[in-house]
Each structure stands twice: as structure tokens, then as C-alpha cells.
Symmetry: C2
Subunit: 328 residues, 2 copies
């Protein structure tokens, strides 16, 4: 199940956790379901072992995760009272992504990392980074099976949320048969799976739907049907009292259209200045496309900031995109 | 895993399948992913056993399922050439829901039913109805483990689609730990899980998004925030060249709003005649609410047809709903 290196690291981590009495767990900036779920599950388990545990997050917890057991204990400021024996960086293997908690790396007696994001530079006393796992919550699940703890309903809920959110409800290509096996073990513990999924996906701010409605009014599609786009002006967002949070995920809608390979979302930042988000469905390298405009990202998700009038920017992207799509 | 009754029925079914040479499989009207996936998986497996198999569907296969292995063989008309030894009703235990294929129940030598919908009257020689299974595809999976067949990538794809669609990507409360165990076994066979989920959920007709955009323009919410609604006029649908297919699922959007328990969707059928769809999130019995207006359905999903002006109908539903919500 694990390779030799991973097995050794899991053992070393168990050792670190067993020895420390006062432990801080911290996730990355802009916390998501995996980061929070994995952190809380591990912390709740460590408490079963008699440890003193604090939960840190460099950014506030999004309202949608307010139902997670233990989440109300998550602190965004450093708790000076606790002389730290162990600092655990969860779902984060880049020190800068710990925000202001980065300074604890020097102040804690020991530092360990539990993560699954590839391509980082190791730091800390134990650096457990397993990119084959879909979620940090999966790594924590395996870790808990090696510790003298009971996975109760609260811990199962946290781990399930970690796995379900980071795999897009088991849809993304990071989903392995092991993810389903772990989910099966968690479901056996009997937490209310349908209710938790409703709390995750059916409790959206009203404003998000209003922003979606406004964005869909701008929906356009190329003659060939392979590129679709939407845009959002500052005035519209202002009139809806909308913030960044409410625009999140809107780029998925033009990508959902049959035949579309590339989706673009143009969001006005200032007069004649737009943030452009790019998403592709099956094959187009949008990282490469965004690089033509001074941006970057990943093969299926990238972004850049471009100056100019909306119609001109749109034309430039469409021209560049159609050239790329033609080459395929 | 199975109770005594089910075990006996599985054995009887294996016996029927082993004896028959010419077999027709048929799903229900308005076929969905479970009905098609389960039917195709079983048929492909029966061919491994040397059986002659035809696939029937009373309604055409929706375009979104066009990627399913074997789906292009599905016929909407009766193939007179084949004297039927065995007719298998898949995901359907109400003869009328077989549409015009219902007549084959009398013409086939033997009839068996494989379904998971509760509350029907038994018919046929073997009536295997297991409501504890989330999907007919799950029942077929168990059946295949009892037959001399190999679950290959094509069969795995069909079974996965059956389970994933009928559980809302493993989100609904019919999802059991066994569903995840079965999904894990299927994923081991190595079909492209992310690609299949994109084909299912990211290949929507452009018109569907345009209809959603138009519907969101009508989004309303009660003062208390517990009831939200949208509406759709015939003229709007007409101007977008939209059909029933493009309106499907739109009722989910008002229900997604934080704090909303009841979602309503008013769709104009004729002048002053509306189809009203009702959905609740956690607890409200919309079957009961719809019954007050001459309709019905299930506790979380119901509908009715009401005459009157849109604003009047809206007021009547809101009044009735707020009374129910107050009682909770």
C-alpha cells in the first residue's frame, strides 16, 4: 500500500505524535474542506491520546464548513499561552502558505508536515508528502489506523469531508479505489452522509446565485462551439453586494457546455483591467495559453491579468485559443 | 450481506439467466443512468456467456449517456426477429413503466425483474426487488459475481455510471458503505473515472445554461429566508428553443440557497396554468403540501398543476408553505 519511503515516514510521524504533549495543527491560507477536515480529525484523535491540541488557520474558516466537529476552536491568531512541542503543517508543504503562522516553524520544538501536494521542498523534522493520496484526509486516515485511537463519528465526518471535497465528490482523477475503500470504512461509522453533503453543497449564499444569474446573461460561445465565456463587471458585483467568495466556481458553468473545451471568465478589477480565468475540459493546456498573456497555473486551470477593453481582450483570447485548438 | 429471501432470489435469477438463450433487457420510460448502465452491464456480461441479447428502451437514450458501451444497440421498437426466451425488466417493477414493451411480458417465455424501487406489486417468474441497494447497477454487480463472467472495463463503466448517477455522486442517503466498496472494486479495473464524470456532468446543452440564466432572473425568496422560488414562462422557453430536457434540474437551484428549506418552481403550461415543482431540503413534507393543491409525490420532491395567475399561485403556495414551516 505504501512504498518503503512512505512507510518509514508514517512510522517516524507516529513516533513524533506519541512523544509530544502540546501540539499545534495549522492548515494553509484560504482553508478548504480537506485542510480543515484533516486537521480537525487528527487533532480530535490526538486529544483521545491525552494531548493538548490547538487548531490554527491563517484565514478564517468559510461559513460552509461551520458544521465540522471542533471547527469553532480554530484560531486565526497565535495563542501565546502554549509553549509548543510540536507544530503540524496539514495539507500545506510551502511555509509561506501558513501565513503568519509560518513564524511558529522556528518557535516550535519539532515540526512535521502532512501533505499530498507534489513539487515542494522538504522542511521540518518529518516531511510526509504523498501525492498519490487524493486528500490530506486520506493520509490522516491511514495515520489514525496506526495510533491508539478510535475513529468516532466526529472524526469520520471530518475525514469524509476532507476526501469528498478534494475529489469533487469522488469525480476527479485523483480518486482512487483506495479513496472509495476509505470512504466505505468511514460510512460504516454511521454519520449522516446525505445531510453532510447538503450542508456542503446546498447552503450557498443567496448572492452567489444572483451573481451566477448575472454572469449567465453574458454567456457567449464561439462559432465552432469549443470556447465559451462569461464576464462580470465591478458595477454588477457592487449592486449585488457581492465579494470574491460569491464569484468562486462560476468559471465552471461555461465549461459545462457540450462541446466546449475552453472556458474563459473575464472579471473587471479596475477600469480597463481584467482578471481572466481559464479552464479546459479534456486536453487544452491553459497554463501555456495563460503564459502568452503573462499568467500561468496548471494545464486545466490558469489565470492572468490583462489591461484593455473587455471586447478587445475577449477577441485576443479567442484568437489565441482558436489557434491552439486548431493545432490539436 | 443479503437476507434469506434475497439470497434465494439471486440464486433463482442466476438459474433463469443460465438456462435462457435469447434474452431481451428493457428499462423504464425516460431512461436514466442507472437503468441504462445496469441493463447494458448485464447484457454485455450475458454475451460473454454466449447468450443472444437485445436491449430495449421505451424512450430514446438521452444524449448524455451516448458514451456508454453498447448503448448504440438500444432499440426503441420491438425487434420481431427474436423469439424471446427471457425478458428482463431492469430498474423497473411497474409494468406500465415499460411503455410499449409491456406487451412482451406476455410474449416472452419467462420474465424476471431486477429492481430497487420500493412499494411495487410483484410480477414475473423471478421478482428481485432490493430497496436496500442504491442502484439497480449495484444489484447487477452482485449478480455478476455469481455468474461465469469477467467484469471488464466496459461493464465496469456501465455499473459505475449506474451507481454514481443514482446516488448523486455518492451524496444521497441511499449511498451505503457497500456502494463505496462496489465502486472501489470497479475503479480497480482502470476505466477513466474523471473523464466519465465529465461526460456525465460537463456536457450540458448550451440551451440548458441559457434556461438557467433566464430562470435565475426570476429568483425570489421569502422574508424569513426559508422559501425560495423561480418561474419560467412559455415565451421564454420558446425564444430559447428549449424543451423539457433543458428545464430538468433547475428546481435544485433555489433549494441550494443557505437557509432555504422549501424550493418552488412555477412553469407555465398554458395561459393561467402552471406546473408547480416542490423540493424540500431537510425535513418539510412536500408530498403533503402538494396534496393540498391536488398533487403528490415524495416527502422531499413533489409536484402539482394549478390554474391561475402566477402571482396568485405564488401567494397561495407561500401562504401554505409558511404555515407548514411554522408548525415545525
Amino acid at each position: 500500500m505504501f512504498d518503503h519511503r512512505e512507510k518509514h515516514l508514517f512510522t517516524a510521524l507516529v513516533d513524533e505524535l506519541s512523544r509530544a504533549g502540546k501540539i499545534a495543527l495549522c492548515g494553509h491560507v484560504m482553508p478548504d474542506g480537506d485542510c480543515l477536515g484533516a486537521m480537525l480529525a487528527l487533532g480530535l484523535a490526538l486529544r483521545q491520546m491525552g494531548k493538548r491540541v490547538v487548531f490554527y488557520s491563517p484565514d478564517p474558516v468559510p461559513e460552509m464548513y461551520g458544521f465540522l466537529p471542533g471547527v469553532h476552536e480554530v484560531q486565526v491568531e497565535i495563542n501565546e499561552q502554549l509553549p509548543l512541542e510540536l507544530f503540524i503543517s496539514v495539507d500545506c508543504s510551502v511555509p509561506d502558505r501558513l501565513g503568519h503562522f509560518k513564524e511558529l516553524l522556528d518557535r516550535a520544538g519539532r515540526v512535521v508536515v502532512i501533505d499530498h501536494h507534489a513539487g515542494s521542498v522538504a522542511f521540518g523534522n518529518v516531511y510526509l508528502n504523498c501525492p498519490a493520496f487524493a486528500a490530506a484526509g486520506e493520509i490522516v486516515y491511514e495515520l489514525l489506523t496506526m495510533l491508539p485511537v478510535v475513529i468516532d463519528k466526529d472524526i469520520a465526518t471530518c475525514l469524509y469531508v476532507a476526501m469528498a471535497t478534494d475529489t469533487g465528490s469522488f469525480r476527479y482523477d485523483n480518486t482512487s479505489y483506495r479513496t472509495h475503500l476509505r470512504a466505505a470504512e468511514l460510512l460504516k461509522l454511521g454519520f449522516p452522509v446525505a445531510r453532510i453533503n447538503k450542508l456542503l453543497y446546498e447552503e450557498k449564499p443567496l448572492i452567489s446565485l444572483q451573481v451566477l444569474g448575472a454572469a449567465l446573461q453574458t454567456l457567449g460561445i464561439s462559432k465552432c462551439g469549443r470556447v465559451a465565456w462569461m464576464s462580470m463587471q465591478r458595477a454588477t458585483l457592487h449592486s449585488l453586494n457581492a465579494t470574491d467568495e460569491h464569484v468562486d466556481g462560476i468559471i465552471n458553468y461555461p465549461r459545462m457546455i457540450r462541446g466546449v473545451e475552453l472556458a474563459l471568465f473575464f472579471r473587471e478589477l479596475e477600469d480597463e483591467k481584467y482578471k481572466v480565468s481559464l479552464r479546459s475540459k479534456y486536453y487544452l493546456d491553459v497554463n501555456k495559453l495563460a503564459a502568452c498573456f503573462g499568467g500561468g497555473g496548471h494545464p486545466r486551470a490558469a489565470g492572468c491579468v490583462v489591461n484593455g477593453k473587455l471586447e478587445d481582450i475577449k477577441s485576443r483570447f479567442l484568437e489565441a485559443a482558436l489557434k491552439e485548438l486548431k493545432d490539436e
